[in-house]
Amino acid sequence: MFTLAIKDLKLFFADKRAMILGFAVPIALITLFAFAFGGVGGEKEMARPRRLLVADDDGSLGSKKIIDQLDSLPEFRVKRMQRDSAEMRVKKGDEAAVLIFHEGFSDSLDAGNKPPVEFKYDASKEAEIAILQGALTGKLMAMIGGKSMLKNALANFDRQYPDMDSASRAQIHAQIASDMGGGQSQQKQESFIRTTSLIAEEENSPGLIHAVAGTAIMMLLFAVIAMGASILEEKQEGTLKRLLYSPLPPNQILFGKMISANIISTLQLTVMFLFAKFAFGLDIFSHIIPLLFMILASAYACASFGMLIASFAKTRQQVQSMSTLIVLIMSCFGGSMIPTFAMPEFMQKMSVFTVNYWSIQGFYDIFWRKLDWVDPTFLTRLAVLFLIGTVMNVIAVQLFKKNALKIA
């Protein structure tokens, strides 16, 4: 019995693939998820500053002062921007929200009226919005809410008791100020910041879009790596040699593989979105042109990625060992598992180097932001995916020629 167990242990520790899948993959994923969920770095990491886009339409000394005060807080990193540009960035998914100080902010504050402050957001970034809004409401209330409410209360009092003598009035004013000092109710605090979703929240929920796009791209990456690795299988089984005996130029053997990988990838993504349509009601037919373009671009980039990974390896077994780790890491960084906005900033910066990020954002552009296919943002994402795919294909071809196509 123990002899059998020892033999199995020996085989397990001698199997590099089993070791990678058993230890390296879980360790890498635990590390990534720990970073992604903010579990690394303790309180310091949890209290990391959030970027806050601010548009100051009022442009008064009062609004500038409040914005400076917000900027000085450790919770925020304020970025000032013109309202139109800021709203565009939110609409395009580059920012989660913008805080707008509308014209008349200072005057309203001085008159003791509710100041015109608006928080415009992208509802697809639900978690980010909740954190930002929670932190913002309390801080803003402490800065302007108390002052505004007090002025309002004193003005109301004066209107009700216009004939009161000045000594009594001063005493009661002091009492009201004391009673209201920092003790405003949460309900009142929330009431003066107007919140508006910049994107009409219609039939396609961001959760559904993320689930479909994120999962489809991740699973596609697994599939295309296997397709890319088939050329190594052909080498191991001798059929590649036979292909090389034929008059077919070696490049065409690779291109043939690429074409089949692209067709299967396109088909796989199409089926995934059709399933999402019929099972969950994702509205794909209203956006058919941009969807087709994004499916083609994503399929091309994913297929190229599969070819690239396979081109590094010398055997199919090597590809299988590497692929699980690489796809899971890339999917984690790229937002397939966790939305990128919920990740620490360094991971968000890294995400732009992944196919997942550009594809998922592209699908958000279509179903959530409802961008037209000629919209520059959407076209940029398509261009990036095609560029990534082309660069990876060029490298893959060179490596395949050096490794797989070389027959000793």
Partner: protein, 307 residues
């Protein structure tokens, strides 16, 4: 049809081919014999354009291999040593795929596939997946796949390794038929009877060189061996064989017998018997036979073909 001059191939420090040269005429059956590592497969790989030579001139069907590899490829068919087929495709689909790589028109190709399937006795099973085939049946399809585009030259690298006698005989029949029809063959094998049966000329390779080439008769005369004395023993072991080998240079041990190479067997017979008795070997049977490729190879290289 094929001309090879001073062909060399180096892999880092190792030299797999050390300047071999040979000519093969149209319709000729040329065999390449040699032990493992002699350079046979490297030669076939270079001639079939998948390995680049380090040096040398090669012409195939009138085309320079370096300048016009595609034209060379169109004129050759290659039967690789391994079964190079797609297991999950049927025999018909495999042949259709491999044939289409040579741009044979589909209708012509389908006709050729039917002919090949009949020729190799597999027409009835044409729609079954290759993975359901026996080793011998796979070998037959492996050969058929190289013949679809009707090449002028066929390279066969150990095409009958590890198959049943029925498949082997069927393959022999096909080879003989194709040879009769005028196809040029370059054939490597470990089976001496195949080489002796088919080859018009034979090149004997050892250590990256062709040490001798010619017809079987020419090789016999080169080896200066006319006969072999074949002796069986009741007590042959490694120690006694080694003792025997110190007294006779040209002996081969195979399948429980020892072959003594000789240019005059009758004269050498008494010496062989006396020597065996002297070292304590008990002879159970003794015979005088003619030479074969195995003994020719031994006399030329001092090594056995299957070393």
């Amino acid at each position: 049809m094929i001309s090879v001059s001073n062909l060399r191939k180096k892999y880092d420090a190792a030299e797999a081919l050390k300047g071999i040269s040979f000519e093969i005429q149209k319709g000729e059956f040329f065999g390449l014999l040699g032990p493992n590592g002699a350079g046979k497969t490297t030669t076939i790989s270079i001639l079939s354009t998948i390995v680049e030579p380090s040096q040398g001139e090669i012409s195939i069907a009138g085309f320079d291999l370096k300048k016009n590899p595609t034209a060379c490829k169109k004129n050759i068919g290659v039967v690789p040593q391994e079964i190079a087929l797609y297991n999950d495709l049927s025999a018909f689909d495999n042949l259709l795929f491999w044939g289409s790589l040579y741009q044979v028109p589909v209708e012509v190709l389908k006709k050729r596939i039917d002919e090949m399937l009949h020729l190799f006795g597999l027409y009835e099973r044409r729609n079954e997946k290759i993975k359901t085939y026996s080793g011998g049946m796979k070998r037959r399809i492996n050969i058929a796949a190289a013949l679809l585009h009707q090449p002028q030259i066929i390279f066969m690298d150990e095409p009958t390794v590890g198959i049943d006698p029925q498949s082997r005989n069927l393959i022999y029949e096909v080879i003989a038929k194709l040879h009769q029809e005028g196809m040029t063959f370059v054939y490597t094998t470990h089976y001496m009877e195949e080489a002796e049966r088919f080859c018009d000329r034979i090149g004997i390779m050892d250590n990256g060189q062709i040490i001798a080439q010619g017809t079987l008769e020419e090789l016999k005369s080169l080896s200066k061996i006319d006969e072999t004395i074949v002796v069986s023993f009741s007590n042959l072991d490694d120690v006694l064989f080694q003792q025997l080998a110190t007294t006779h240079n040209s002996i081969v041990r195979e399948d429980g017998v020892v072959r003594f190479l000789s240019s005059d067997a009758k004269a050498d017979l008494s010496t062989v018997i006396l020597e065996c008795n002297r070292i304590g070997l008990s002879i159970t049977h003794i015979d005088i036979q003619g030479v074969n490729l195995e003994t020719i190879f031994l006399s030329l290289t001092g090594k056995q073909l299957r070393d």
